[in-house]
């Protein structure tokens, strides 16, 4: 039986942190949004465990994560494909899972992507927040890094899963519309007129993700549009997803942890939905830019939100049916 609040103890973690939707209000302070780089996988995980609003989740990047729970909890693993086990038994991704008290949840062998998320019904809590978010800001030295032995409280209202005879439904996320695998939707950048052929070179060839990529920016190797002038650009704030030509053989895509102002020219802006895709691109993999209209970018974003909300709706209904209103109350099993 899930109690009101338990403790999650990290058994194994290398590059792992507590993440949430970040701090969008930070922009007004010159503070980066940060938050889970794959916002879709983060919110989807919260939807799968029936959290009515998204709460902090664990994120592990390219490395294995093992967590032990001292009370029974309902969890879900989302994001890049990985081997998931509970108490050594194989388990599915994209499905609510019951982890019995004292058992370990492992996420190993992350592949076809860079990061996975562990969400729990009731969320992980107890970490400090800054501008409403627990997410790391590496520039400011803020955040909750998961290391072996670190603990967090977790869970929420009591649930009784003992009467459930069937597993929770599996909801593998459907493929998004409009874009094929490896394709990133790109909107026009404000400085494309400074480049030969309005930087249309961007759409002619593949780009390769490099390992010089972090929360601040992703460096992509490939054809760099040729600039026609050498004028200085007055520093201005740039959006997440901005594709900068900083010189050299690479493009710099601004990630959620970007410094807000910069003076490099911007040839395109990767749409919000495609930034989630880019965050899962491993070094060495190829991506391709595809021109998109604002209307199409909005469709992609709406589609993501619909997928998340439909799962959230179904899972909150299921989870609500397991809620124990109070110990000894009418819904508690005998």
């Amino acid at each position: 039986m899930s109690s009101t609040s338990g403790t999650a103890t990290v058994v194994q973690a290398t590059f792992a942190a507590l993440q949430d939707a970040g701090r969008p209000a930070g922009a007004s302070w010159g503070i980066a949004a940060n938050g889970a780089p794959d916002q879709f996988a983060y919110h989807y995980g919260n939807a799968l465990v029936g959290n009515p609003t998204s709460l902090p989740s664990l994120e592990t990047t390219m490395t294995d994560l093992v967590v032990r729970f001292d009370v029974e909890v309902v969890v879900a693993v989302t994001g890049a494909r990985a081997e998931v086990t509970i108490g050594g038994l194989s388990a599915r991704m994209n499905q609510a899972l019951v982890v019995p008290a004292g058992w370990e949840l492992t996420v190993r062998d992350i592949r076809d992507g860079t990061r996975g998320y562990v969400s729990v019904f009731g969320g992980f809590h107890g970490a400090n927040t800054f501008l409403g978010s627990v997410s790391p800001d590496r520039t400011l030295g803020f955040g909750f890094d998961l290391t072996p032995g670190s603990t967090l409280s977790c869970g929420g209202d009591r649930l009784d899963t003992s009467g459930r005879r069937y597993a929770f439904p599996v909801f593998d996320p459907p493929r998004g519309p409009l874009l094929a695998e490896g394709e990133l939707g790109v909107l026009p950048g404000e400085n494309r007129d400074l480049f030969e052929d309005r930087a249309s070179e961007l759409f002619e060839d593949d780009y390769v993700m490099t390992d010089r990529t972090d929360a601040v920016g992703a460096r992509l190797e490939g054809r760099v549009p040729r600039r026609l002038d050498k004028g200085e650009i007055l520093s201005r704030a740039l959006p997440i997803g901005a594709v900068e030509v900083a010189g050299g053989k690479e493009l710099l895509v601004l990630n959620r942890g970007r410094g807000l102002s910069a003076g490099y020219p911007v040839v395109g802006v990767i749409c919000t939905a495609s930034m989630n895709v880019l965050s899962q691109a491993r070094p060495g993999t190829s991506v391709r830019f595809v021109p998109l209209t604002i209307a199409d970018a909005r469709r992609l974003r709406l589609r993501e939100a619909e997928v998340i909300e439909s799962v959230r709706e179904r899972m909150t209904t299921i989870i609500d049916s397991l809620r124990v209103t109070r110990p000894g109350g009418p819904r508690e099993r005998e």
Binding site: P24, G30, P239
Partner: protein, 238 residues
């Protein structure tokens, strides 16, 4: 508000409002006025406004507002009478912060002094003699971006940026000056360092200063550093 406003989309989650009329000073004031109005209106669809010199990046959630509607909202905000903006006329706060000039904390002091045709002593006197208007928050995190030492004199950046300079580094480049809020890579010229703590993640009020406030400096020696260490910008408010 005068003519000369461009609103351009910046991806699917941001628009830029850029002011093109008037001189640089008027444009900056137009930006500040827009920020004040948006703060006053508190439109829920707008998540944040990152303002710089002649433009503001307005970030929004495309799930809750369409681009066309956001543009209309911004035009409405721009059209509102200045005098109704209660926050626009806030008195600027003044901060006077200690700086250890030259030496290890300010390795470029000599170079910058040469550039201005001054001795190091005169440059320190020059730098600490005036007030600097905070124009905007810059990179890294909430660093105060200010005007340069002397109007019209541009200081060249380093060809090879330093990998990491400590927080509190007082720097100049181009016609701008800056205090690094946190350790960061830097191509700017370092003339000194302040022990003042600029930003904190322990409070949601990230820093004590805002664009529109004024900063000044006073020189300290090595022996004085310890007595100022750990003090925040609020402690240096005058």
């Amino acid at each position: 508000m005068r003519n000369g406003v461009q609103i351009t989309s910046q991806g699917d989650a941001a628009v830029r409002v850029r002011f093109t009329g008037g001189g640089t000073e008027e444009r900056w004031q137009d930006v500040r006025r827009l920020v004040s109005r948006l703060e006053e209106l508190r439109l829920p669809a707008i998540s944040g406004v990152a303002a710089t010199y002649d433009s503001a990046l307005v970030e929004f959630d495309s799930l809750s507002v369409r681009l066309e509607d956001l543009e209309s909202l911004l035009r409405y905000a721009l059209a509102r009478d200045t005098r109704t903006a209660a926050t626009a006329d806030r008195e600027p706060r003044r901060f006077r912060v200690p700086v250890r000039y030259g030496g290890e904390p300010g390795p470029d002091l000599g170079m910058v002094a040469d550039h201005f045709g001054e001795t190091e002593e005169d440059l320190i006197a020059l730098h600490s003699a005036r007030w600097y208007l905070v124009r905007c928050f810059g990179a890294p995190a909430a660093s105060p971006m200010m005007d340069g030492l002397r109007d019209g004199v541009s200081v060249p950046r380093r060809g090879d940026p330093r990998v990491r300079v400590p927080e509190g580094s007082v720097a100049v480049a181009g016609v701008q000056s800056l205090i690094y809020s946190v350790p960061a890579p830097a191509g700017w010229r370092l003339i000194g360092r302040t022990p003042a703590v600029l930003v904190s993640t322990r409070h949601d009020e990230v820093c004590a200063y805002r664009p529109g406030d004024l900063l000044s400096y006073f020189p300290i020696g090595d022996g004085d550093w310890a007595s100022y260490e750990g003090l925040t910008m609020e402690d240096f408010r005058v």
